[in-house]
């Protein structure tokens, strides 16, 4: 069986009639005494999506995006150019443009190639043809039917199925030679329910790095029923309270808390620049001692997983916070070098047309010892947030928000009434310091996360067990 690297070479170089010696010439052209690293990144991404609305599959789209990005790094300076096709002359021009950053000089040295054959974290397959067009349409129709028959109050159903197949190949002056073939699939159901003139929305989605075959009928029907369930909960919801209170977060997707409250602030670039609230705090307590937070790109088939990152570094499991103490940052090559450490395999880019940066993969909090029911029972008055939309953080001040899409009041140790989506706001290190109970029920989300940074989007995963925070500001409208 040929390796992922060989597959990537066949897919990216062969159609353009390029072989390794051609690319080596470009790398030689990039290298120079003032250049710390020169890199060429080849990418081919095929994607497809199908959408159902009003009970019919109305739209489908297919796209191919192929190109090559060339980067030259000199000290803290980066020169970058790209070409929208994999052709030798364009590649040479891009290399010359990227290299202007360091001025012209004599040829520099290139390390011997180190073939990277990292352990695959997902099958090197193309998910697009794993179902026929007819089967994809049938799958969307099944979700629609399941949602509509789940409850008579269901009024509108939208279903989306998406699949992509990405091939990447990285070659760099530091000797990197690595490739990856990445499948990614996702299905989303969103519904609107109506009762007595009141309308509410519900949503459920999931997927990962695998084929479309995993979306079997049972799974799809369960997804549709989950979307209807959340909409119906919100149909009954009252106004959320306003002000500081105890909040219990459910397991799984509410881990978006970690992504916002600590994840971004622990990306290497912000810490190298001193722009993060966590800069210079390695070895210091930044969360309660119940908190151990990891970023793990090696989980099998997860949405945020990577065999190698976009700089060709094998993905890893990085402990960011252990028992409340900051251990280290997520790094790409550039920031690792500037901070005197090594890449943690977190160098990611949206495409060949964007520069890589330190980014999260799958970020989660390790399980604790408490029974989730015992956590709820310990709260006299507070909020249980079962699900969230998304969040945002200002890494400099540490302030972050995330918005609940399914939440309940806790009164006298019991979950009572549902409340309408409220935004929670806090300061990362402060809120993490107030985590007072951690459940034994770790869950990773179902595979819907998209993380945005400097205009670049990448797929990510989040997760956590049930956890209790003694005080967070809940942004509702009710003072009662």
């Amino acid at each position: 069986m040929s390796s992922v690297l060989d597959c990537a070479r066949d897919r990216l170089w062969a159609p353009a009639g390029i072989d390794q010696s051609d690319v080596e010439k470009v790398i030689d052209r990039l290298a120079g005494p003032a250049i710390d690293m020169g890199e060429v990144f080849f990418q081919n991404q095929k994607s497809e999506s199908w959408a159902l609305e009003d009970g019919i599959v109305k739209e489908g789209s297919f796209s191919v995006d192929r190109g090559v990005g060339v980067r030259a790094v000199s000290g803290e300076k980066t020169g970058f150019a790209y070409a929208e096709d994999i052709l030798l002359p364009a590649l040479g021009k891009a290399a010359d443009a990227a290299r202007t950053i360091a001025g012209r000089g004599d040829a520099g040295s290139v390390s011997a190639w180190r073939r990277c054959d990292a352990i695959s974290r997902y099958p090197a397959l193309d998910p697009l043809p794993t179902l026929s067009g007819e089967d994809k349409v049938a799958l969307l129709m099944r979700a629609d039917h399941a949602a509509r028959t789940a409850d008579e109050r269901v009024d509108e159903v939208n279903v989306r199925l998406a699949a992509s197949h990405e091939s990447v190949l990285v070659i760099a002056t530091d000797g990197t030679l690595a490739g990856d073939i990445r499948p990614l699939v996702r299905m989303d159901v969103s519904v609107i329910v109506e009762h007595d003139g009141r309308r509410e929305r519900g949503f459920a989605g999931g997927g990962g790095r695998r084929s479309l075959v995993g979306f079997d009928d049972d799974w799809v029907e369960e997804l549709a029923r989950e979307a209807v369930r959340t909409a119906l909960v919100n149909l009954e919801a009252d106004a959320a309270p306003a002000g500081p209170m105890t909040v219990v977060l459910g397991p799984g997707w509410p881990g978006v808390l970690l992504h916002e409250a600590v994840g971004h602030g622990l990306e290497g670039d912000f810490n190298h620049k001193g722009s993060s609230a966590f800069a210079g705090k390695v070895g210091q307590p930044v969360a309660s001692e119940l908190c151990t937070v990891v970023d793990d790109g090696t989980m099998d088939g997860r949405r945020g997983s990577l065999t190698v990152d976009d700089e060709g570094t094998p993905s890893s499991e990085t402990v960011l916070i252990e028992k409340g103490v900051l251990q280290g940052y997520m790094q790409d090559k550039l920031n690792a070098r500037l901070m005197g450490t090594i890449s943690t395999g977190n160098g990611r880019r949206q495409s060949y047309a964007s520069l890589p940066m330190p980014r999260m993969t799958n970020t989660y909090l390790r399980p604790g010892e408490s029974d989730p029911e015992e956590i709820i029972a310990s709260v006299k008055k507070g909020v249980f947030a079962a699900n969230f939309g998304g969040g945002q953080v200002d890494i400099t001040s540490g302030r972050f928000v995330f918005s609940a899409t399914e939440a309940y009041l806790i009164e006298g140790g019991k979950m009572t009434r549902p409340i309408r989506g409220a935004t929670l706001i806090g300061n990362g290190p402060e809120v993490m310091g107030r985590v007072s109970m951690v459940g034994n029920d770790l869950e990773i989300d179902h595979g819907v996360g998209v993380c945005g940074k400097d205009g670049q989007s990448v797929p990510v995963g989040v997760g956590q067990p049930t956890l209790k925070i003694d005080e967070v500001i809940v942004g509702g409208t009710s003072t009662g």
Binding site: I56, K77, Y82, E84, A94, V137, E200, V401, T423
Partner: protein, 452 residues
């Protein structure tokens, strides 16, 4: 300066004809392969972006993009495809991929091109193209000037998070099987600047930017740097406020978001999906009586200007809301058909929207609010378009007796957009013309502020 002089932008005017014939070729291929109708858009962009941080060059990025997207129709079935490759083989493959999809999608009675008689016939020159060859050295000079002015403005500015100077030009061509083909060239120049300030109570960041179609009308680099620094320092040592109901003044940048929520709620997609808090609002009062929301797509040189929309329909000036009453929805021909209405030339969005009314000086707005919150930043996605429920993280300043007193952060503001829009009690005269939805400051009578 060690950077060599690389000319970033060569000029796209020569490309316009090439792209026009590419569109015709792709439409021809679609017809040949069996599409009953088709539409194609081709874009080409090129440019340069330079980032400087703490007086050193951080990145020099050259971009050059070309791509096309096609939608084909076989009767009432639709398929789409796009690619970054415009070779003859790729055109044929992409058309085939779109048709393959159209063979599987189901008949949608509302599907199809916009009606032929709605195609734009006049394509006025909107003054969007001001090509200028900017070298990396020039871009670096501008960035350094901007950063230096900000760093020197206040000693509490301890760090720069970068100044970016960019120069972009683009050519967009749209054509469809009605025989319509329209194209335009545009340029876009900008400088943006982010600073980090620090005092005993921690770090804060803020930014400022200038952007324009014509390089010569950009704000001076020093002015951008100083404004970014001033805004950053003003946020240091923030406090929280007591939870309660207060008047909330939205800065022009934040007010633009409020009006965008209104436009989203009266847009065809949200209305036909019944996913709007303003269902059946045509002719209904949704805002205070003295407020009008207009769209002027043909303004000269503006960032949002366009002579035709995303499906070739000619654009025109209109009011979406006139004296508080909804006069037009925001429609494409698809959503118009779903709602049994006519397109408003808004496929792909709105073009130069503004909020008009009895504009008052900013100081008079502050005075009018007495005690309350002046919001200059909002965070998070806590806006429910179906119900209008609104709950977002906010930062800004506490106002007491009509005077700005101290910075505030880590609070939320919450209400329902339906009520908030009706409760826009006053607007300022400080319109932010950089934005496509260009609004002044607006005062919302009362909102729940959650803090301590």
């Amino acid at each position: 300066m060690t950077v060599n002089d690389v000319v970033a932008t060569g000029g796209l005017s020569g490309e316009e004809d090439t792209l026009n014939s590419l569109v015709s070729e792709i439409l021809g291929e679609a017809q040949k392969q069996g599409a009953t109708a088709a539409e194609v858009s081709v874009t080409q962009d090129e440019g340069l972006a330079v980032t400087v941080r703490n007086e050193e060059i951080e990145t020099v990025e050259f971009n050059q993009d070309r791509g096309f997207g096609i939608a084909v129709y076989v009767g009432k079935c639709k398929g789409s495809a796009s690619t970054s490759d415009s070779s003859i083989a790729a055109i044929s493959d992409t058309v085939r991929a779109a048709l393959d999809i159209a063979r599987h999608t189901q008949e949608d009675p509302a599907s199809g091109l916009a009606d032929a008689e709605r195609m734009a016939t006049l394509l006025p020159d909107l003054d969007l193209y001001h090509p200028m060859e900017m070298t990396t050295d020039q871009a670096v000079e501008i960035a350094l000037e901007c950063e230096k002015a900000g760093l020197g403005h206040d000693e509490r500015i301890r760090n720069s998070d970068g100044v970016q100077v960019s120069s972009q030009q683009s050519c967009r061509v749209y054509g469809n099987s009605h025989g319509f083909i329209g194209s335009y060239l545009a340029t876009r120049f900008g400088t943006s600047c982010v600073f980090i300030g620090e005092d005993d109570n921690g770090m804060q960041r803020d930014y400022w930017y200038t952007v324009a179609r014509d390089f010569d009308v950009l704000d001076a680099p020093e002015a951008v740097g100083i404004e970014a620094a001033r805004r950053t320092v003003a946020r240091l040592s923030p406090r929280k406020v007591a939870t309660g109901s207060y008047p909330v003044l939205f800065s022009p940048q934040m007010a633009s978001g409020l009006i965008s929520h209104l436009l989203g709620a009266i847009s065809g997609g949200a209305l036909y999906r019944k996913a709007s808090f303003l269902l059946d609002s045509m002719g209904q009062t949704v805002m205070a009586k003295d407020l009008t929301v207009v769209e002027e797509p043909h303004l000269s040189g503006r960032l949002g200007s366009a002579a035709f929309d995303g499906e070739g329909v000619g654009t025109w000036s209109k009011a979406f809301v006139e004296q508080g009453v909804v006069e037009n929805y925001v429609l494409s021909s698809y959503s118009a058909r779903k709602l049994e209405l006519e397109t408003t030339g808004n496929a792909g969005g709105v073009h130069n929207v503004s909020l008009r009314g009895d504009a008052r000086p900013f100081a008079s707005l502050l005075e009018g609010m007495g005690d309350g919150l002046y919001v200059t930043e909002l965070m998070g996605q806590g806006v429910n378009g179906v119900t209008g429920d609104y709950s977002r993280g906010a930062s800004g300043f506490w106002v007491e007796g009509g005077e700005i007193c101290y910075p505030v952060d880590e609070v939320t503001i919450a209400g329902n957009l339906k009520d908030m829009l009706k409760n826009l009690v006053a607007i300022g005269d400080d319109v932010d013309l950089r934005l496509n939805v260009a609004t002044p400051s607006v005062l919302v009578g009362e909102l729940m502020v959650a803090g301590e």
